[in-house]
Amino acid sequence: MSAVPLPAEPWTQLPPGAAPQPSAVEVETVDRADVGERKRVLEALLKERRLQADAPPLRGEDYRLRPLATGMAALDEVLAGGFPRGEQSEIHGPASSGRTGVLLSLLAHTTLAGALAALVDPLDRLDPGSAAAAGVDLERLLWLRGPRTSGEEPQAKALVAATAAVATLVGSGLFDVVALDLAGADGARRRLPSTTWLRLQRLVEDTKTALVIVADGHVACSPGGRALALEPLGLRFSGPPGPACLLKSLAARARAGRNGLRTAELALAAV
C-alpha cells in the first residue's frame, strides 16, 4: 500500500520572500551517550594497562614484603619493619603500657599515607581527640563502636559481633589495617571459642590487610605475624603534686621476635 502524503503546513514556515531569521541552531541537552561510551572505553584501557596501584605487583615484587610501619623507629626495628600484611599480629600489655599510643601511631602512619584503616572497638574506648593528636587522618578511619555494656555477659555478645565485623572488614580488602581493641575485656575474651582466631587467621591470609589485636594479655598470633609485648616502666611527672605538675611521659619496654629477644625502650609523650 503506498504511503499517504502528509499535507503541507504552509503557516508554520516562512512565506517565500520573507526576510529569513538567523538560523536557530538548536541546542539540546547534551547527549551523554557518546560521553558514556568514551568513558567506558577509557576505563577498559586503563584496567588493561594496570595503572592502578592495587594492581598485581610488578615482576619480582611481593607486596607482602612491605609491612606496615608504626612510625616509631625503635619499635619498627623490633618488629623487623612493622606489622606484616596478610598476617594476624597482636599488641598486648597491662594498663598504661602504651598499647593505645602504639596503635594510634600505626593508624596515623597508615592513614596519612593515604590508605584506609578500620578500628573495631567493642568497648567504645577510642578518644577521637587523642587520635587526632596522634596524627590519625580521621576521615580515613572507620570506627565501629560497641554498645554501652556492663558485665561480662553483654561484653561477650559485643565481642562476638566485633569478631564478625572484623571478618567482614578483612574480607572486603579495602583496609590496610584492621584493628580489634580487646583491652579491658579479658574475661569476656576468654569466653570466645578458640577457633575464632584461627578463622580470622585464615581470612586474612593472602590479603593486603594487617590484622592487629590489642589486648591485656596474649591472644593469638599467626606464624608470620608479630606479637608485641609491652611492659610499663613507669610514669614521669614534672614535679611534686600540685597545679604546676604535669604528666610528662610514659615509659615502656617493647619485646617482639622469637622468645621476645628483640627489645626496645619506648617513651610516649603526654604533652
Partner: protein
C-alpha cells in the same frame, strides 16, 4: 514559527504553563515559570491555522484556571515579548515583528536594571523608540551590547532555542505471576529489573545516588525502603547486593507479589587516578561493605570520628564513612614521636576518692582501686562556660597496681555535684 504563552497573574504552581505547553509539543523552552516558548514546527498538521492553535493554547490554560496571553510569531524574541505585552491572542505575520513590538513598553524587554535606566534617561519609552536608534551610534556608546539591543527591539533573534529537558524517571515495575517467598528467587528477579535501569543510567552518563524499592506483598500491604549508599553507583550487581542485605536485615512480612524500583539519578563524576598514591576504594565495594555492617550502621555506631569546634570535654561527632580523594600537594606528617592516648570510659565511672590536702590519695571505682602514687592537677576546664561555669576539675593520677607498676588515669571532679569520676585510662 514560535508561540509564546504568558500568565500575567501568579500561577497556581510554578510548572503549570510548562505542563500545558508540553501537552502540545515536547519542544518547549522555559527559562522561567512564565512566559514559556513553544517551537510550533509540525503542529500545522493538527491545527490548520495559527489562530486555531493560539485559541487552543489559551483554552488549555483556561481549563487549568490560568488566564493566559498567547502570541505566535516567526521569531523567538517577538513571540515572548508580544505574549507578555498583549492581552488575549496575537498572531504576528512574517516581517511584522518590528511593527508588533513598536508600541509596547521598554520594560517588556526585561533588560538589566542599569541598561533600562540608561535608556529611560535618554528619553526612550517604547520598544519602537529603541528600534529606531542607529546601531552604529549605540555601539559607540554601549559597546557590543548596543546593536544587540536594536536587534531585540526589532524582533530579530539573537539567541538560540534551548529546549527544556524532559524530566526522566528511572523506574521499573515487575508484576510477578505468583508470589515469591525467600531471597534467593528474589535475587534473580532483582538482577532482571536492575540491569535495564543501570543501562538507562549509563547511557545518560548518570549514576544512582539512591534507590527506592517497593514490594507489594501477598497480603496487600507494601514494604517500602530507600537505600542511599555513601557514594553513587551505577552497578546493577552492587545495588542487588545492597537490596538483598537490606531485606535480610528488614525482611518483609509476607511473600512478594510486585516489585517496583526507582533510582535517583545524579551525574556521574569522573575522578583522576594518581600513579603515585594508593588506589582509592571502589565506591561499589565500599557501599557493599558498609551495608554488610548494617547492624552497626543503623544504630549510628559506625563511621568516621570527627572533632567538633567546642571546648566541651569529650565532644565529638561520627560522620558517614566516605573517604574523599587524597589532597594534592604536600600532605601533613604525623607529629614527632608517639603520644600517650586516653582510653575513654563511656559513661565516666563514678569514683570514691579520698583526698589529702586537696590532692587525691586513694581512688576506688568499678574495675580499679588503689593508692595514688603521683598526681598532676587540678585544671579547671569546662566547655559551655555559660551553663557550667568551669565546674570540672581534672587530675592525671598514677595508681599503684598489684604488679607494682603504676597505671595512669584521668580523674575529674564535678564541682557542681561534688562527685568524682574516672574519665579514662592513659595508655
Amino acid at each position: 514559527m514560535f508561540g509564546g504563552l504568558h500568565a500575567p497573574r501568579p500561577l497556581p504552581e510554578p510548572g503549570a504553563l510548562l505542563a500545558i505547553a508540553r501537552s502540545f509539543t515536547p519542544r518547549v523552552e522555559a527559562r522561567s515559570p512564565t512566559p514559556v516558548l513553544l517551537d510550533l514546527s509540525g503542529l500545522g498538521r493538527l491545527w490548520p491555522t495559527p489562530h486555531e492553535l493560539g485559541r487552543a493554547l489559551v483554552a488549555a490554560a483556561a481549563a487549568k484556571a490560568i488566564e493566559a496571553q498567547a502570541a505566535l510569531a516567526f521569531s523567538r524574541g517577538a513571540a515572548l515579548v508580544v505574549a507578555r505585552g498583549c492581552p488575549g491572542l496575537t498572531v504576528v505575520p512574517a516581517g511584522g515583528e518590528a511593527k508588533a513590538l513598536a508600541p509596547l513598553p521598554l520594560a517588556l524587554l526585561e533588560l538589566p536594571e542599569e541598561q533600562q535606566q540608561l535608556l529611560v534617561r535618554w528619553g526612550l519609552r517604547t520598544i519602537g523608540d529603541l528600534a529606531r536608534l542607529p546601531p552604529a551610534a549605540l555601539a559607540a556608546r554601549l559597546g557590543p551590547a548596543g546593536p544587540r539591543l536594536v536587534e531585540l527591539a526589532r524582533g530579530e533573534d539573537a539567541g538560540v532555542f534551548q529546549r527544556a529537558a524532559l524530566p526522566e524517571r528511572f523506574e521499573t515495575t515487575l508484576e510477578l505471576d505468583w508470589p515469591v517467598d525467600g531471597l534467593e528467587p528474589l535475587a534473580f528477579l532483582l538482577q532482571r529489573a536492575l540491569e535495564p535501569l543501570a543501562e538507562a543510567l549509563a547511557v545518560r552518563g548518570a549514576k544512582a545516588k539512591g534507590l527506592a524499592f517497593e514490594l507489594g506483598l501477598a497480603d496487600g500491604s507494601v514494604h517500602a525502603r530507600t537505600l542511599r549508599p555513601a557514594s553513587p553507583t551505577g552497578d546493577a550487581r552492587t545495588w542487588r547486593t545492597l537490596v538483598l542485605l537490606d531485606l535480610e536485615a528488614h525482611p518483609p512480612r509476607d511473600a512478594i507479589a510486585r516489585l517496583t524500583l526507582r533510582a535517583e539519578p545524579t551525574p556521574a563524576r569522573a575522578s583522576q587516578f594518581s600513579l603515585l598514591d594508593p588506589a582509592q576504594p571502589a565506591p561499589e565495594k565500599l557501599a557493599e561493605t558498609l551495608a554488610r555492617l548494617h547492624a552497626w550502621t543503623e544504630q549510628g555506631r559506625s563511621g568516621s570520628p570527627r572533632l567538633v569546634d567546642t571546648h566541651r570535654p569529650g565532644a565529638f561527632a561520627v560522620s558517614t564513612f566516605a573517604p574523599g580523594p587524597l589532597p594534592r600537594g604536600r600532605r601533613p606528617s604525623a607529629p614527632c614521636g608517639p603520644r600517650v592516648a586516653l582510653r575513654a570510659y563511656r559513661p565516666p565511672r563514678l569514683a570514691h576518692v579520698l583526698t589529702k590536702a586537696g590532692v587525691p590519695s586513694f581512688v576506688a571505682a568499678p574495675g580499679l582501686r588503689g593508692a595514688v602514687t603521683a598526681a598532676a592537677g587540678p585544671w579547671r576546664v569546662s566547655g559551655d562556660w555559660w551553663d557550667e561555669s568551669f565546674s570540672r576539675e581534672e587530675w592525671d593520677i598514677a595508681l599503684a597496681t598489684p604488679t607494682g607498676a603504676a597505671a595512669a588515669f584521668r580523674l575529674f571532679r564535678d564541682r557542681l555535684r561534688g562527685e568524682w569520676f574516672v574519665e579514662g585510662e592513659l595508655d
